[in-house]
């Protein structure tokens, strides 16, 4: 017999490492109000976790998850009040920083952990023998690119895996570079009538795409700060992107994309996360802090679950979730919204659609877990309100109270227009700028797309069309990736969920409102240097993050300007926002622990039928709020069914009824399965009912006949 590996602390954590961790540096000071909470360096995370372990030895322990490709370590915090460390791990997994461009996720997760541990008593109560595992930074290799210590500061979505992105038989030979020596890899704008970009009239530091359909011709090319190091005519086309961990999981994994990795779970970072779930199948859900947001936009429903000829099996992977599982997810969404409103945050973000190979989708589609994700912050797409407008705006908001806000959750069109796509859109556009005639034809296709968009309302404006077309004429891997995302989005809007009509109506209203205000146009969401973001940085952060354009003599391109935005500005949550968000998340995470399933035997009845014959009945009941399994998890079988067994003392015998019942799933809040037996026994004999499972704690009931 080979039981599933146990992730109890005793098995995993050598005492020496523990000691080392505890002896390490003091935790970084947290100050919610400070506008400049710095992102944690990679080597600050372990000490921060160790500090929490030291402060809360009864609840917290350290869970090392192993080294990365680039030689960093990934560590997790394990919170549990269970008496024995080796008991199965049942509970939730919180993961931040899968995307290397988001080092701030670690701040969210650590602040969350601190907030949870502030009231040790309350946490211990909801934890019971459940567990909460928190991984602050799943991709330290990528984060290192933004945090320094890995060449000039640049954006690196993936880990430290080298690759031949442009398939020229040379590996990472032409990376974006810091040409002007300011320590940052920013942008180059190159005067060129063949370019697609123009200087934004709202802000000469901002760039937007020329609207060719309206007779506007581009004046600039916009390129990542780079050389043509390998002389192939492409600038910065094969850099250190690594493998995007959030594209490296098996569900809908995109093969033959360098960004996805060589094969599913090819990367140690993703494999170690996957093992955590595969080896601890009691984890009932994940909460990913990152660019996706399951609260802003619920996953769509699988409309056509094709079953194969075999019981409990399907002929193709799902793209959406089973309807049975969307109910509890909606309830979690409701609770999330409630706890956030309590904290005064409306949580209005636009998030990325679920990509193929993502962790959170895999957690559901293979792991059978509740797939939650939350995006703490998105770069603003609208200009900040000025003082007087602000007042007016407040009135308008008050008047609107109760109505669906056009920007919020549920609007799938909207949420799909990810602001995370800023830089990649631009990179795609810039790359196509650089292509030959063939691609110009594709560019014209783009215009058609844009034209359509322009005619539509501004809120509904979806750069997906635009971007998708770029991809067709462009071999760049990253672009393909993005293009696929957007295809997904289009599907979503085409399929039309129930909510869509309402949302569309809300969009129209919003569009009218905006149209009235001619001084407040929307900036180019696809730009890596969008006017609205510059305005926001000016107003809220005294211009921090804006890199003024400066002339530079480029060896390949001649005179250019280098500048724009500091790397990470569009992706990474500002430190103070991240810290606050972590605090606000704590009540919701306590809810997640409180709603976990738990089973008990109820209505146990023994009826003496005479002559030494007894009729026994009992019900196994779920007293938790969530079902014992997701409906899909009951199919994937990673988490085993609840096994109910009847044992009789010597001399007693079973006359009718099963010795073992496998209960696939019990609904939440009282879901039950009734069972009956007929037993031959003498009074005083005992029978024992037991139930054991991955997702709920074992129970046992002794009955005297």
């Amino acid at each position: 017999m080979l039981p599933r590996l146990d992730f109890g602390l005793g098995a995993l954590l050598p005492a020496t490492l523990f000691t080392l961790a505890l002896a390490a540096l003091p935790v970084v000071a947290q100050d919610d109000a400070a506008p400049d909470v710095p992102d944690l360096a990679n080597d600050e995370i372990l000490p921060a976790l160790a500090e929490l372990v030291r402060g809360h030895p009864g609840l917290a322990s350290l869970l090392p998850l192993g080294p990365t490709v680039g030689g960093h370590d990934v560590n997790a915090l394990l919170l549990t009040a269970r008496p024995q460390a080796r008991a199965p791990m049942r509970g939730w997994l919180v993961v931040g920083g899968l995307d290397g461009r988001r080092p701030s996720d670690a701040t969210v997760v650590l602040r969350l952990a601190e907030a949870l541990l502030e009231d040790e008593q309350a946490l211990a109560e909801v934890l019971g023998d459940g567990t909460l595992v928190l991984v602050p930074r799943a991709n330290p290799d990528g984060a290192a690119a933004l945090l320094g210590g890995n060449g000039p500061i640049h954006e690196q979505v993936g880990n430290g895996r080298p690759d031949d992105r442009d398939r020229d038989a040379r590996i990472d030979e032409d990376a974006p570079a810091d040409l002007d020596g300011d320590g940052l890899v920013t942008w180059m704008r190159v005067p060129d009538a063949a370019g697609e970009w123009v200087i934004d009239e709202h802000d000469p530091r901002a760039m937007r795409k020329a609207v060719r359909a309206e007779g506007e011709r581009g004046t600039h090319r916009l390129l990542v700060e780079s050389l043509d190091a390998d002389g192939d005519g492409e600038l910065g086309e094969d850099g250190r992107d690594g493998v995007h961990l959030d594209r490296n999981f098996p569900h809908l994994f995109e093969e033959q994309q360098a960004i996805s990795g060589a094969y599913p779970l090819s990367e140690p970072e993703s494999m170690n996360l996957a093992r955590l779930m595969l080896h601890a199948p009691g984890l009932i859900g994940v909460l990913v802090i990152g660019p996706q947001d399951s609260f802003a936009s619920l996953p769509k429903e699988e409309k056509n679950p094709r079953r194969s000829g075999f019981r409990n099996s399907f002929s193709a992977p799902f793209e959406g979730m089973l309807a049975d599982d969307l109910g509890p997810l909606k309830e979690l969404q409701r609770r999330f919204t409630e706890t956030f409103e309590d904290s005064g945050d409306k949580h209005e973000v636009k998030a990325e659609a679920l990509p193929g190979g993502s962790f959170v989708a895999w957690a559901y589609h293979q792991g059978g877990c509740w797939p939650l994700s939350v995006k703490p912050w998105a770069a603003p797409e609208k200009f900040p309100k000025k003082e007087k407008e602000n007042e007016k705006g407040d009135d308008a908001e008050a008047a609107e109270a109760g109505a669906t806000d056009p920007d919020v959750a549920g609007d799938e069109d909207d949420t799909s227009s990810a602001s995370d796509d800023h830089a990649e859109n631009a990179a795609a556009a810039a790359a196509s700028d650089d292509e030959d005639d063939q691609d110009d034809e594709d560019d014209e296709d783009d215009e058609d797309g844009e034209e359509g968009d322009e005619e539509g309302d501004e809120e509904g404006d979806d750069e997906g069309d635009d971007e998708g077309d770029d991809d067709e004429g462009d071999d760049d891997e990253g672009d393909d990736d993005e293009g696929d995302d957007d295809e997904g989005d289009d599907d979503e809007s085409d399929e039309g969920d129930e909510g869509d009509d309402d949302d569309a109506a809300a969009d129209d209203d919003a569009a009218e409102d905006e149209a009235k205000d001619e001084d407040k146009p929307t900036s180019d969401k696809a730009s890596p240097v969008p006017a609205a973001v510059l305005a926001w940085l000016d107003q809220e952060h005294e211009g921090a993050g804006i890199v003024p354009w400066a002339a530079f003599e480029h060896p390949d391109l001649g005179p250019v300007e280098i500048g724009g935005l500091a790397p990470g500005t569009l992706f990474n949550t500002p430190g103070s926002v991240a810290a606050e968000f972590g605090t606000r998340l704590a009540p919701f995470v306590l809810e997640l622990l409180a709603v976990m399933p738990a089973v008990t035997f109820e209505d146990v009845e023994v009826e003496d039928a005479g002559g030494g014959i007894f009729r026994v009945s009992a019900a196994l009941v779920n007293t938790g709020v969530l079902p014992t399994h997701t409906s899909f998890g009951a199919t994937t079988g990673l988490q085993r069914a609840i096994r109910v067994r009847l044992q009789l003392s010597d001399g007693a015998a079973l006359l009718n009824g099963p010795t073992q019942v496998l209960v696939d799933r019990l609904e939440g809040s009282g879901g039950r399965r009734e069972m009956r037996w007929v037993v031959s026994a003498t009074p005083g004999d005992r029978l024992t009912l037991s139930a054991d499972a991955d997702t709920v704690a074992d129970v046992e009931l002794d009955v005297e006949l």
């Binding site: 017999m1 080979l2 039981p3 031949d164 398939r167 020229d168 038989a169 390998d230 002389g231 192939d232 005519g233 098996p250 569900h251 994994f253 093969e255 033959q256 360098a258 060589a262 094969y263 599913p264 779970l265 090819s266 494999m271 996957a274 595969l278 194969s308 075999f310 409990n312 099996s313 399907f314 002929s315 193709a316 992977p317 589609h365 293979q366 030959d436 199919t635 994937t636 079988g637 990673l638 085993r640 069914a641 096994r643 099963p658 010795t659 073992q660 496998l662 054991d692």
Partner: protein, 593 residues
């Protein structure tokens, strides 16, 4: 950089030709094997390891034995590497073929087929020109047992022809939290797992004894149960309810399929039975994955299974047809067509279309993810028991059941060797039952005296496939004057075999690097360059915009085709054109301006 010297004569054929002249003619009529091996039997794990050891010991210059793995049960997995000067040569510069067998534990003859291939290559090296050339120019990586645990279990355990495909990692197949707790049971302890039948009151069963042959049960139509007095029920394979859950034999040893564990269209268990938790989740598949990924010069793959007589290629699923572009299909068809001639009773088939859907199969991975021309052969077709009409049995007659043919063969040719006669056994759940049926070495494996033919014909197919790996030669190097004192340099390179240096799927999906041709010379400046040069019009070639001295050939050199490269150069002196490929080594051409 290692280059292939085209002028070098093959040493061995010349040497052997000289030897043969000196030998008496009679030596050819009775050929004593260098390493005698009995090919009319099967070998267990230790037996296969012993054969591999003997081969490597007998041929140290051209054969090495290494081990990958180990398997789940810690068995090292022997791997033979065969090539000329195998210890010293730069093997990466030679096209290589991967051959394996026995990923399914019960499909044992794949192991012998792989060892036979190695044996035959080494045995006839220096004697037959075609074989000598293969060892000179190619590399063979031969892994006889992908699933050594399953193989050993099939031989030593009580099993059927079909039990089991799996490896031996304990697996909870019935979801009750217990692992491998209810497999088949050898009720009578005779080492065979056969069928159980039980006699019941006439009319209450669903079978009766065949009127002409009481060994055979005949299913009785529903409306004739009483009239015909159906008095037998079938109770499945030998075994009982070990775990008391009311089911028999529902969770035996292992219970997964390592030929569904590869990262090409991999699907989890609820879509693809046996897939494992993730690609490469078993030690055997992970070890092979690591080995093959580190050997990008592998240009051909052959995997041996049983049974049915098939030469299979992908795709494994209808969603994967884009991985088989037209150009590659032509290559597959050309090789498989020759295979059908080498392998009577075998048919060339496409897995998803002619067999069934496979997600994450081994050859799916090598063909679709690695871009290698890959075949799976299903060894042995029981139609081979009788050639047409022999023994009074028409092999193609559907009215004669498979069981009847098998009995006829067992009676006439095997003298009862493969049949366990029905006999009574006490069963813990069913009372007195009868146990009987064909032994495990029937149906999916040939009788002993037909093993060698199966092995040789399949080896022949491998050798043909290996010979069709790309082979390059320089056709011509031409220097011609251009206007303004420049010169045109034109180099034509030909591939004389079916498999291109880069398959179409590799080119289209961006698998591996493109071939790269570089013109260099101390006194030479390259002004322009490009492939696709016209034979007559010097100005007609696909000039590249950047790096004209370094031409990327995304589609490589096609099978039985050539590529004409042209440069405009200035200067004088010697120049070298070097074509670097992943699958066919490096070839150079030189010239002078």
């Amino acid at each position: 950089m290692k280059t292939v010297d085209l002028t070098e004569r093959r040493r061995w054929p010349a040497l052997i030709a000289a030897l043969l002249l000196a030998l008496p003619v009679a030596a050819q009529s009775v050929r004593e094997p260098k390493l005698p091996i009995a090919w009319n039997r099967f070998y267990d794990y230790d037996g296969i390891v012993r054969l591999c050891t003997q081969l490597a010991t007998a041929h140290p210059e051209s054969c090495t034995l290494s081990y990958i793995g180990p398997s789940e049960e810690r068995r090292p997995m022997p791997l033979l590497t065969i090539s000329r000067d195998v210890r010293s040569a730069d093997l990466d510069s030679r096209s290589a073929m991967w051959v394996d067998g026995n990923v399914h534990g019960n499909e044992v003859q794949g192991g012998e087929a792989a060892v036979y291939l190695a044996w035959y290559l080494l045995e006839r090296d220096g004697e037959l020109e075609a074989i000598t050339e293969l060892i000179d120019e190619r590399v063979f990586y031969i892994l006889p047992m992908v699933n050594p645990d399953g193989r050993q279990w099939w031989f030593e355990g009580a099993n059927t022809p079909n039990s089991s495909r799996s490896g031996k990692r304990p697996t909870d197949n019935d979801g009750d939290g217990e692992f491998d707790e209810d497999g088949a049971d050898d009720l009578d302890g005779d080492g065979d797992i056969v069928n159980m039948r039980k006699r019941v009151e006439p009319g209450t069963g669903s079978y009766r004894l065949h009127p002409d042959d009481s060994r055979i049960l005949q299913r009785v139509p529903q409306d004739k149960l009483v009239e015909w007095g159906a008095d037998y029920v079938l109770l499945g394979q030998e075994g009982f309810d070990n775990d008391g859950d009311g089911r028999v034999n529902e969770d035996g040893p292992g219970g997964y399929d390592m030929n569904r564990n590869w990262p090409a269209g991999w699907m989890p268990r609820h879509i693809q039975f046996g897939a494992g938790d993730f690609p490469f989740s078993y030690p055997e598949t992970a070890a092979i994955g690591r080995f093959i990924a580190a050997k990008p010069h592998i240009a051909a793959v052959q995997s041996f299974h049983n049974a049915g007589g098939m030469i299979l290629r992908g795709p494994g699923a209808d969603t994967r047809t884009s991985y088989f572009p037209r150009a590659d299909r032509s290559t597959y068809d050309a090789i498989a067509a020759e295979g059908e001639r080498q392998l009577p009773f075998y048919r060339s088939m496409v897995i998803y279309d002619d067999l069934y859907t496979v997600h994450g199969g081994f050859v799916d991975w090598t063909a679709e993810t690695l871009g290698i021309i890959s075949f799976t052969n299903e060894l042995w077709n029981s139609s081979q028991l009788f050639s047409e009409g022999a023994g009074g049995v028409d092999v193609w007659d559907d009215d004669v059941t498979h069981t009847e043919k098998q009995h006829a063969f067992d009676d006439l040719v095997m003298f009862g060797d493969t049949w366990v006669p029905w006999h009574e056994v006490e069963h813990p759940d069913y009372g007195t039952v009868e146990v009987g049926g064909f032994r495990k070495m029937t149906g999916r494996t040939p009788p002993h005296f037909m093993i060698e033919e199966m092995l040789h014909r399949n080896a022949a197919f491998c050798l043909y496939h290996a010979s069709e790996m790309p082979k390059l030669e320089v056709v011509s190097v031409d220097v011609e004057p251009a206007a303004g004192g420049a010169r045109y340099v034109t180099v034509e390179i030909r591939n004389t075999r079916w498999i291109p240096t880069r398959t179409a799927v590799a080119a289209e999906k961006g698998i591996g690097p493109p071939d790269v041709a570089v013109l260099a010379g101390a006194g030479v400046t390259v002004v322009a360059g490009g492939a696709g040069a016209d034979r007559f019009d010097l100005r007609d070639f696909d000039a590249v915009e950047h790096e004209p001295a370094r031409l990327q050939l995304d589609r490589g050199i096609p099978g039985h085709g050539s590529e004409r490269l042209r440069w405009i150069v200035r200067g004088q002196g010697e120049f070298t054109v070097t074509l670097t490929t992943q699958k066919a080594g490096t070839i150079t051409a030189t010239g002078t301006l």
